[in-house]
């Protein structure tokens, strides 16, 4: 007979390192199976947030991603302190995610089409855009322009990084100007909005793709719920600011389930060969 420690805590039925509960349907999902299903609930199709690494595995062809500017880190221009100092927050986020900041950029192939790929990670300080995110995205766009390779950005962000103040706000203008140069040069830019994409990121480059795709159920909107309720004293209705809502109102081209995302991006990139290269039609 096994002995039990009568004072010990009862083992949990669903320990969290093995099981995750779906916030949508309440189903208990076995973590390994969830990961195998690209972090989509096998029961109801709820799309869980995806880290940058997993996102790269999902989109880039195997071993095709080559990271650029991996060591770029932010300084603390304002000496910002809320309940913690900004450098402490960065250090904690780096330890948590293993990335230096909230975006990974590099070159890759998607279904054999060479692209410049940028993937944001919400786990890193809410995916917020400060100097590093702005600079890496700008360089990615400039690289896409130089190589005449399509740019694909997967956004996952709460907005601009408050800890960098107005400099963070200027990253909106900086990234917009950079993707605008692609637009002028006829280099395709596909923007993928994932859960969540809000604030300054949605109000800049993320809204300006030639094609804008969104994941099902993703929270996508300009102002966060807390800011709205503080500013206008009313709460946004539920179901507002979801990917499907934006589709209905004409701000995204398609809502694409995660399993089809890669092939859908590849389809559009295949159709939009970069201007001046290999014309699809001899008009």
């Amino acid at each position: 007979m096994r002995l039990r420690n009568p004072f010990g805590r009862k083992p949990k039925e669903f320990p969290s390192h093995l099981w995750t509960q779906c916030p949508n349907c309440g189903e208990m999902l076995f973590n390994k199976q969830l990961a195998r299903n690209q972090s989509v609930c096998t029961n109801c199709g709820h799309h869980f947030k995806l880290g940058a690494k997993e996102r790269l595995e999902l989109l880039a062809d195997a071993r095709s991603f080559s990271e650029t500017d991996a060591d770029m880190v932010s300084s603390d221009p304002l000496g910002f302190v809320d309940s913690k100092t900004y450098p402490d927050r960065i250090a904690a986020a780096q330890a948590k995610t293993g990335h230096k900041d909230a975006v990974l950029t590099g070159t890759a192939t998607i279904s054999d089409i060479p692209v410049v790929l940028a993937v944001m990670d919400f786990e890193f300080m809410g995916g917020s855009m400060g100097s590093v995110v702005g600079e890496k995205l700008t360089r990615a766009a400039e690289r896409a322009l130089a190589d005449r390779a399509p740019l694909v950005i997967v956004a996952a962000s709460g907005g601009a990084r408050m800890q960098e103040g107005t400099i963070a706000l200027m990253q909106l203008a900086k990234t917009v100007a950079a993707v605008t140069r692609l637009d002028e040069a006829g280099v395709p830019f596909v923007s993928v909005l994932t859960d969540p994409t809000t604030g300054g990121v949605l109000a800049s480059f993320a809204s300006l793709g030639d094609i804008v795709l969104a994941e099902p159920g993703a929270l996508i909107g300009f102002s966060g719920a807390r800011v709205t309720s503080e500013t206008i004293g009313e709460k946004l209705p539920k179901g507002f600011q979801r990917a499907e809502f934006l589709l209905d109102h004409g701000f995204v081209d398609q809502v694409v389930p995660r399993a089809q995302l890669k092939e859908r991006i590849a389809f559009f990139l295949g159709a939009f060969r970069v201007a001046g290269q290999d014309l699809r039609w001899s008009l």
Partner: protein
Amino acid sequence: MGMLERIAGSRRAGPEGNGHLPVDAGLITDTAAYAGERPTAWQAVQTARNIGRPHALDVISRVFDRFQELHGDRGFRDDPAIVAGIAELGGRPVVVVGQQKGASTEENIERNFGMPYPEGYRKAIRCYRLAEKFHLPLVTLVDTPGAYPGPEAEERGQAEAIASSIQVMSRLATPIVVVVLGEGGSGGALALGVGDVVLALENAIYSVISPEGSAAILWRSAAEAERAAQAMKLAGPDLLETGVVDALIKEPTGGAHTDHDATAAAIKTALVAQLERLVRVPVADLLSLRYERFRSFGTVVEPRAGEVAAPPRPWWRRVIGR
């Protein structure tokens, strides 16, 4: 303003330099002017929000002549939080776009407290294009707590409208001078804020998020706004230090709300001087300098190549395969 000066000439040469005003007429370009007597961040916020401050139409009526307002975005409706039109500055036509706050509660309700809806930004975009098409310089006047964050604005694509406005300004083939009059609230302000030269009134503020919004997120209480304002470095001298604004326009003693005429006169002098300079710069140079101006924001630290070899994996990590 370094690069721009090299191309356009600084005109600091004095009266013989073809009769134009010097670029720094009435402007503060150095924080040395504020040694030891900076107002606190919260004082700056209060002054910038003072209801008696000159708002866009007060400034327009005093700085420009023959202002004719243009209404509507040609899609949905006319947003009273943004005023736009054609006017004359020193006898020459320009396009003016500004965010309009009210001077009383009733007027503020009508103007939605200067918080534009998407259709306001789309009206602005329409007028930017008009400026480009007819080769008129563009002057924008920023004064907003932020873009309106309500449900209707979300429905009509607030984020897309702001992004498009920033995009159109960033490649608009005509000189742009931005003046921050009072509050420069976040993306809603930046949508009018991409220019070749960005000026601000001395007591204006410019921030990534309102102090209340920041407090609501970081301190989970809007009551902490004062601390948030302090931390965000949003006052005039701070903006000059970070280069977010190129120069500050002197306000009359006691603040702009004490004397609208004097404030407007200072704005006019600054605008004329800047536009005189900018119109002589070839448009292609203007656009690349504008790109560089915004491209250069950001403080990143990069180890040079070879400086950081990847840290060696400890032997036990190799054994456990992580």
